[in-house]
């Protein structure tokens, strides 16, 4: 059997999968977003989305929360990943970081309800000092906290891998050339670890745009994002066309985020 035919043969399962579960659903969403409930072609759904302040506010909200979650995760993960490359027994530390990702998201959410609730561990602890009970669950803070907790491993791992790949002599070369610790970070370590940071941001920012389970369970529906809106339209009001429209907008937003973070800077040429 020649090579090309063999390759085509082995591609069949993957292609079938892609067509059935990726391309077809996206086409369906597009179809729903461009039709009304009587299957007539219309752009009204998009007009409604961009005319109606509520949708735009929801979109901004989604962006804002996704941005905050990504930022906080990055601020926690970058130093963690950096020091992880320096410690002994890196495999064990990595395992400890990966371990929570093996546990179902829903379980973790329920666990946090137990921890953060009015009769939860945190409030019991605070009561020892005569404080509370403080309302922690169903606040923006709780939502941010849990979302960050869940996303951290997905940020640490790519950054860890990127830093690990940097030749340590390059860091020494920077110091040798007179750079301070901060300058070495700014001009050498950060740009060289950027591919890891980029994958981390994409792995967190994009899914965070459409979080809906956490907004409901931990945020107590006080945080409304595009994700919650989509769920609302499909499951509650059964307006699939509007739900699909929000979905299409979300997909476009995600593509834009991918393009922006993946952009390579063009270098200026110098004339000596």
């Amino acid at each position: 059997m020649n090579n090309k035919k063999a390759r085509a043969f082995f591609m069949i399962p993957y292609l079938t999968w892609i067509i059935l579960f990726v391309i077809l659903p996206i086409l369906l969403i597009l179809w729903y977003s461009l039709t009304d409930s009587n299957n007539h072609f219309t752009l009204n759904n998009f007009v409604t989305f961009f005319r109606n302040g509520t949708f735009l506010r929801m979109m901004l909200n989604s962006f804002w929360y996704a941005f905050l979650i990504t930022l906080v995760t990055l601020l926690v993960s970058y130093p963690a990943a950096y020091f992880l490359t320096k410690v002994k027994n890196q495999q064990i530390w990595l395992l400890l970081i990966i371990l929570p990702t093996w546990i179902n998201l829903l379980l973790k959410a329920y666990a946090f309800i137990g921890i953060l609730g009015n009769n939860g561990l945190v409030n019991k602890f605070l009561q020892l000092f005569g404080i509370g009970p403080v309302n922690i669950l169903f606040t923006d803070f709780a939502f941010m906290f849990v979302a960050t907790y869940i996303e951290i491993p997905f940020m640490i791992l790519p950054i860890y891998n990127a830093i690990k790949e940097i030749n340590p002599a390059v860091i020494q070369a920077s110091e040798d050339l007179g750079a301070s610790k901060w300058q070495t970070f700014r001009y050498v370590l950060w740009p060289l670890s950027w591919p890891g940071v980029e994958s981390g941001i994409q792995a967190i920012f994009i899914p965070s745009l459409s979080l809906f389970m956490l907004t409901r369970l931990i945020g107590g529906n006080r945080v409304i994002t595009l994700g919650t809106a989509i769920e609302e339209y499909f499951m509650t009001t059964m307006n699939w066309n509007m739900g699909a429209t929000i979905g299409v907008v979300l997909i476009v937003l995600m593509i834009i985020v991918m393009l922006v973070t993946g952009r390579r800077q063009k270098r200026k040429k110098v004339n000596l």
Binding site: N167, A169, V170, Q172, S174, E175, L177, Y187, P191, V270
Partner: protein
């Protein structure tokens, strides 16, 4: 500054780096350096030569500031810099595998140190142009590092270091990644660059040929200790001990006995030699360089040996022979010889290098001075 200029004008060199009683023990207990004392003068080309694990790279890292000595002090221009940050030393390094910044192009790599120092852009451009010219990479400023060959990357690494006008340039096995021809070429070039800049180069290498061809002075290291220091010719001609004799060039080393001044016995025969200053009947080791041995007839030879193997190496033959006492002899000769036949070996008294066992560098230098002075009086 003016004083320095006068000194340089007068040809008086100044001590720029000094290591005093430097010891280094790593966390795992490995002792890399044992009581190292060395002085580096400005404007010279030095080599730290030794096998891997001899401590040569550790000395370089201590001078650069990447490693702190366990004890001892490092002085730069008379100031104690033992605990000074690498960033604050007027020393730059060319790293073993160049350690160029892969995310920056040639210009940005070379300009890195100057940008850190906030030098104005027009001055940076001029300095980078000059540095690239010095390493013969004119017109390469906008190239990516990944587009360059190993030799070109090597040049960028040198330009990136010298553009900062350091007083001392450290080179860590900087030529070892290049192929043989390129390495030869770079040896000439490095030496030329050093002469042109007039700054001190300290070159770490395990390649004796590299050290011999480029250096003003060589420090031979083994086992964390300086074995010998001196000019390439001194070290080659008068090795202080069997390690140096074996490490630098090929050698025939035999046990011997000093009968009196200028007479030594080895291989059960007495020979005239050029060494003196030892006790009568003192046990010594004798070095004869293979290229100093000439093949002649058994009658004319000072020693008679039997050739066992012979290799033709292009510009000379390498012959392994054995004498009556079963001592092995390595001979490098322009002429070949017949195998399994007795041949004579001829050599001059100056070709015999006598080494005392466990002689310190100071005693060695003093002894050499005493009878080299004699030579001139004769």
């Amino acid at each position: 500054m003016r004083l320095v200029a006068i000194f340089i004008f007068l040809g008086i060199t100044m001590k720029i780096i000094e290591l005093k009683h430097v010891n280094k023990r790593y966390d795992d207990g490995f002792v890399a350096l044992k009581d190292i004392n060395l002085e580096i003068e400005s404007g010279k080309f030095y080599s730290l030569l030794g096998p891997s694990g001899s401590g040569k790279s550790t000395i370089l890292r201590i001078i650069a500031g990447f490693t702190n000595p366990t004890d001892g002090k490092i002085y730069f221009d008379g100031k104690d810099i033992t605990n000074l940050d690498p960033a604050k030393r007027q020393i730059n390094t060319v790293f073993q595998n160049y350690a160029l910044f892969p995310h920056l192009n040639v210009f940005e790599n070379v300009a890195f140190g100057l940008k850190i120092k906030k030098v104005p852009m027009d001055k940076i451009k001029a300095a980078v142009r000059d540095a690239l010219h010095m390493v013969r990479l004119d017109g390469y400023a906008n190239r990516e590092i990944s587009e360059l060959s190993g030799g070109q990357q090597q040049r960028v690494a040198i330009a990136r270091a010298i553009v900062n006008e350091p007083k001392v340039l450290l080179l860590d096995e900087s030529l070892s990644a290049l192929d043989k021809r390129l390495r030869k070429e770079m040896q000439f070039e490095l030496r030329a660059i050093q002469k042109k800049l007039g700054i001190t180069f300290i070159f770490v290498t395990h390649d004796q040929e590299e050290a011999l061809s480029m250096s003003d002075e060589i420090f031979v290291l083994n086992d964390g200790k300086i074995q010998q220091n001196g000019s390439p010719v001194d070290i080659y001609d008068e090795p202080i001990n069997d390690f140096v004799a074996r490490f630098i060039g090929d050698s025939n080393i035999l046990p011997g006995r000093m009968i009196k001044d200028y007479e030594v016995e080895f291989a059960n025969k007495k020979f005239q030699c050029a060494d003196a200053g030892m006790r009568p009947n003192e046990k010594v080791e004798v070095v004869l360089r293979p290229e100093d041995l000439d093949i002649t007839s058994p009658e004319k030879g000072k020693l008679v040996v039997t050739a066992q193997t012979q290799l033709f190496l292009g510009d000379h033959f390498e012959i392994k022979a054995i004498d009556a006492d079963e001592n092995e002899w390595l001979i490098q000769s322009i002429n070949g010889c017949k195998l399994n036949e007795r041949i004579g070996l001829y050599f001059d008294p100056e070709d015999i290098h006598v080494m005392r066992l466990h002689e310190s560098q100071e005693d060695f230098d003093a002894r050499l001075e005493s009878y080299e002075g004699d030579d001139e009086n004769e």
